[in-house]
């Protein structure tokens, strides 16, 4: 290698003596530091109003620099924890993984990088909209779709396609395979925001983690701690948990309900028995009567029985299950899954007294005499009527009797309900969709084609029904007329020709009270020779005698109870479920659990004082 050697060549460097220095003066570092580049990972900034306190940032932080600190000025509310992240800049390594995993997208990084203080306490900072340092109000690093550390897309659920689905009552959703369930469970960050929102406070992160670990027994045990009907819930729960799921802030919420169903479907029988029998105590504490075999009644029976009470459950219909048995169609909840939950209750020793209507076959007072306590959960078996012109026509049908008849037909216990070739359903909730989609299937069977129109006051975007109900219904050929109010039924030669409608401009007033406003100019008629009304359910308090009603408070038809389900004015009587909270499966299960604990406390304290 040839080497050039020149004593003078290093002196060329002198020309730089006359150029502007590229370095920065030291004294400027604190107040006027060099500006960071775009994307710089500086000190954090956090939009505190957008942040939901899920703690994913603290969870992923490799240096454990983030602590979730409770803010006293924030209220406990649904869908968030009143905590916000606080950074220890003595530990933080500015890797920005907290930013990349942030569920709400509120956490970002500013361009500030100088924090000069002799006080170590000042290194603990709860980031706010801007950081108190030069450049702290300029956005530096923010996540991009490719740097996102969350999985925003759900594992796909295998399902029967719409055109095929409407030909039978076969369950539409096929259920997750093990791979799908594990992939879905891996999306959960375990923030527990869902737990707070679930009426039953189910141990959701725990059983999702169990699915992810492949430990079904643990998942089952976690579920039965707060919910003895996971099979029913896994199919038809209103999943408030998914509505508030932190992953749902930017993507699709974790399919909590389907993961529950995965455990139920895949746990072997022996495991089921082992897990379920474990907490059951020997009977001998006392006797409790449960009125109504719906979700609330079954739930209360399970917990009362595990606590050691002898439980008799009174059911008016031939089978227990309530709405799950006589309302929800089989394509959403097949009998087998329901039977599995019910049989297990029978196995632990709950006695079912079916075809026994309290108030008719046995009085409430008789129950009071025979048992130590009574739990009332008779539900809402009646359909709410709608005042319509010609509304008393025999071809105007109501949701609850129709669904019960259709369900009986599906299990081979009754005749096929007579459905017309063209039918109109009034209502926008899940029950209306159940009715409409059941009619579709019956029509398909009877005529080979279907024609059902659904009329609702609400427009499609604010329909109270679940989105998947709407989408599946539409895929099956349901004609939705959203945003119309029913006016009257048009008759022709004594038969129904159709439903007269009028455009609905708004459903609620400013205070969110129900107060529909119609535009009388925009009229229309929807064809159909039968009209089904599905605008809500009502209770049936036939078992309350006038003496009861003197002591027991009813408000808007709802039984008034305390936090433990104890009826005000009758300490031996507890109530829960739809007659207390309105129609909702998971609320019923939660009420059953609460009332069981309430009854236990009541009976224990009574025996102590006696």
């Amino acid at each position: 290698m040839e080497i050039k050697k020149d004593l003078f060549s290093p002196l060329k460097a002198w020309k730089y003596a006359f150029k502007t220095p590229v370095s920065f003066p030291m004294e400027d570092i604190k107040d006027r530091p060099r500006e960071s580049q775009d994307n710089a990972r500086g000190f954090h900034i956090n939009d505190l109003s957008k942040c939901i306190g899920c703690g994913a940032c603290a969870e992923i932080c490799p240096t454990e620099a983030i602590v979730m600190v409770k803010r006293k000025d924030l209220e406990e509310k649904e869908g968030e924890h009143p905590e916000r992240p606080t950074m220890d800049y003595g530990r933080c390594c500015f890797c920005a993984m907290c930013v990349d995993i942030c569920t709400s997208g509120s956490l970002k990084m500013s361009k500030a990088y100088v924090l000069n203080t002799p006080d170590p306490q000042k290194l603990y900072v709860m980031p706010e909209e801007s950081f108190p340092a030069p450049g702290g109000d300029i956005l530096g690093y923010d996540k991009t779709p490719e740097s996102d550390l969350l999985d925003l897309k759900r594992a796909e659920m295998p399902a029967v396609a719409g055109a095929q689905a409407k030909k039978s009552f076969v369950e539409i959703l096929k259920g997750y395979s093990m791979e799908q369930a594990r992939a879905e469970a891996a999306r959960c960050i375990g923030c527990e925001i869902c737990v707070k929102t679930c009426p039953a406070n189910m141990h959701i992160p725990e059983y999702i983690d169990a699915v992810w670990q492949g430990d079904l027994a643990e998942g089952l045990a976690q579920m039965y701690k707060t919910n003895p009907l996971p099979g029913i819930c896994g199919s038809i729960c209103t999943h408030k948990c998914e509505t508030v799921c932190a992953i749902g802030k930017r993507g699709e919420p974790v399919a909590i309900r389907w993961l529950k169903r995965y455990i139920v479907d895949n746990a072997p029988e022996a495991m089921y028995e082992e897990v379920l029998m474990a907490p059951v105590s020997k009977p001998g504490q006392g006797r409790v009567a449960v009125v109504g075999g719906g979700a609330a009644g079954l739930s209360a029976s399970y917990y009362l029985r595990t606590m050691g009470y002898q439980v008799d459950l009174y059911e008016a219909k031939p089978l227990v299950g309530g709405v799950a048995r006589y309302g929800v169609p089989a394509y959403r909840l097949p009998d087998e899954r329901l039977n599995k939950d019910v049989e297990l209750l029978e196995k632990i020793g709950v006695k079912f007294l079916v075809n026994t209507k309290v108030g008719q076959d046995i009085t409430l007072d008789a129950l009071h005499d025979q048992y130590d306590a009574v739990f009332l959960a008779s539900g809402l078996p009646q359909s709410r009527a709608l005042k319509l012109e010609n509304g008393d026509h025999p071809d105007v049908r109501y949701a609850m009797p129709f669904l019960a008849a259709a369900r009986d037909y599906q299990r081979g216990a009754g005749e096929m309900p007579d459905v017309a070739e063209k039918a109109v359903v009034i209502g926008g909730g899940n029950v209306a969709f159940d009715v409409a989609r059941t009619i579709l299937r019956l029509q398909q069977k009877k005529y080979g084609h279907s024609h059902v129109s659904l009329v609702s006051l609400e427009t499609r975007d604010i329909l109270p029904a679940d989105l998947e109900e709407i989408e599946e219904g539409e895929a099956e050929g349901l004609r939705c007329h959203c945003g119309f109010g029913p006016q009257g039924i048009e008759l022709f030669q004594g038969k129904i020709r159709g439903l007269n409608t009028v455009k609905c401009l708004s459903v609620f007033d400013e205070k969110r009270n129900f107060c529909p406003v119609f535009d009388p100019e925009q009229k229309g008629m929807i064809e159909g020779s039968q009209v089904y009304v599905a605008v809500g359910q009502m209770n049936e308090h036939t078992y309350f005698t006038p003496e009861h009603l003197e002591r027991i408070a009813l408000k808007g038809g709802k039984v008034q109870v305390d936090d433990w389900g104890q009826v005000k004015g009758a300490p031996w009587l507890f109530a829960g479920g739809d007659i207390v909270h309105g129609p909702d499966m998971i609320h019923g299960i939660a009420d059953g659990h609460k009332a069981a604990r309430g009854i236990d406390v009541y009976l224990q304290s009574r025996s102590e004082t006696a």
Partner: protein, 368 residues
């Protein structure tokens, strides 16, 4: 004359990182050298077992401070090999650009470090100023100047910012104009040449005995052993570049090789920008969110060519969210650990820092 014991490091301007070497000196000749490891030991290998696969991305760059991206690259490559992940084509090219830029940064650092033992601090000032501009470019791409945390299992963390290609290429055009100035300042300078030329020899036997790789090996035994050539990773088989070799390894050869390698790296970066396809820059390494990413059971040895030689990770996964074991093959381990004790004796005391620098030693990868 009696023997004097001197402490070279851990705090010493000529020391790279915080290694400590006890020198036993007679006159101004080193008679005995003892490396005292542990001054920089932070238990990285053990710590890696306690971090999630993604959390490790924030930890591993620290294994070599001057050239952090090699850690990210071997880690990402290893994980991809165990999990059998195919990453998008564009990610390979971005990785290659990042790897070459970081190689240049490391070479500039060690060329600048010639300055303090030879007494010409201007070199270091220039090199640091030029490095500063490059680190600004890194800050724009990755968000940080030193620990980039950019190459992740599955690709790279995010897309290149718009307009960065021009900024990088403009920088190198300017830097290439500066290379002759560096040449004039350092390699034509008789005072520095007197210290480098025919001084601090690395004989071929030592290379074979210790397992020295990288510039040290190539300059001593004349074999173009370069991981980029022998087992090409990323897309090094798609680009053209030369690997300089020689059969006489003195401090001068090893230093001038760094200049040649910088030029070759710039050539690779230009080709990579020309050939880089569009499309995605990463795939998710596993299902779910980063807290629950797992890597299937398996083990692998993954290696890249660092500025100092073959740098590798041996990764074992037991199928959980954290690695079971990671062992680091530090590129400078042979010369920096064994070599100091065996082959530093004989050099003059004032050449000890030069020995350390030109042999290519990065202390944290020994003291991991």
């Amino acid at each position: 004359m009696s023997e004097v014991k001197l402490f070279f490091g851990p705090q010493h301007p000529g020391m790279h990182g915080n290694a400590s070497v006890h020198l036993y000196v007679e006159g101004d000749t080193v008679k005995k050298a003892r490396l005292v490891p542990g001054m920089l030991h932070r238990g990285f290998e053990k710590s890696m077992e306690n971090h999630t696969w993604m959390g490790n991305v924030a930890l591993i760059p620290r294994v070599c401070v001057a050239e952090p991206d090699i850690n990210e690259m071997v880690f990402a490559q290893g994980v991809e090999a165990i999990a059998e992940i195919d990453i998008p084509e564009r990610a390979h090219y971005i990785r290659m650009i990042i790897m070459e830029m970081t190689r240049i940064l490391a070479h500039m650092m060690s060329l600048g470090a010639i300055s303090s033992p030879t007494g010409l601090y201007t070199v270091n000032h220039w090199m640091q100023a030029d490095r500063n501009d490059m680190m600004d470019i890194f800050e724009e791409i990755t968000g940080h100047r030193v620990y980039h945390m950019y190459i992740v299992p599955g690709g790279v963390r995010r897309e290149l910012p718009p307009g960065i290609e021009k900024r990088i290429l403009d920088y190198f055009t300017e830097f290439e104009r500066r290379i002759p100035e560096y040449q004039a300042l350092v390699f034509e300078n008789p005072t520095i040449l007197a210290r480098l030329k025919d001084n601090i020899l690395l004989p071929a036997e030592v290379v074979w005995e210790l397992g020295v790789t990288g510039i040290g090996m190539r300059s001593a035994v004349g074999k173009p052993y370069d991981v980029r050539k022998v087992t090409p990773y990323a897309r090094y088989d798609q680009v053209e570049f030369e690997v300089p070799v020689a059969t006489y390894s003195d401090a001068y050869t090893r230093s001038i090789f760094k200049v040649i390698e910088i030029k070759e790296s710039i050539r690779i970066i230009r080709q990579a920008f020309d050939m880089m396809p569009g499309g995605k820059v990463n795939v998710k390494m596993a299902a779910g969110n980063a807290l629950k990413w797992t890597v299937p059971k398996g083990q692998t040895y993954s290696a890249v060519e660092s500025a100092r030689g073959e740098f590798g990770y041996y990764i074992v996964s037991d199928g959980k969210t954290q690695p079971y074991r990671i062992a680091v093959r530090g590129a400078s381990f042979p010369q920096g650990f064994l070599g100091v004790e065996r082959y530093m004796p004989g050099v003059r005391l004032d050449d000890a820092p030069l020995w350390y620098d030109t042999m290519g030693v990065c202390t944290p990868e020994i003291d991991r």
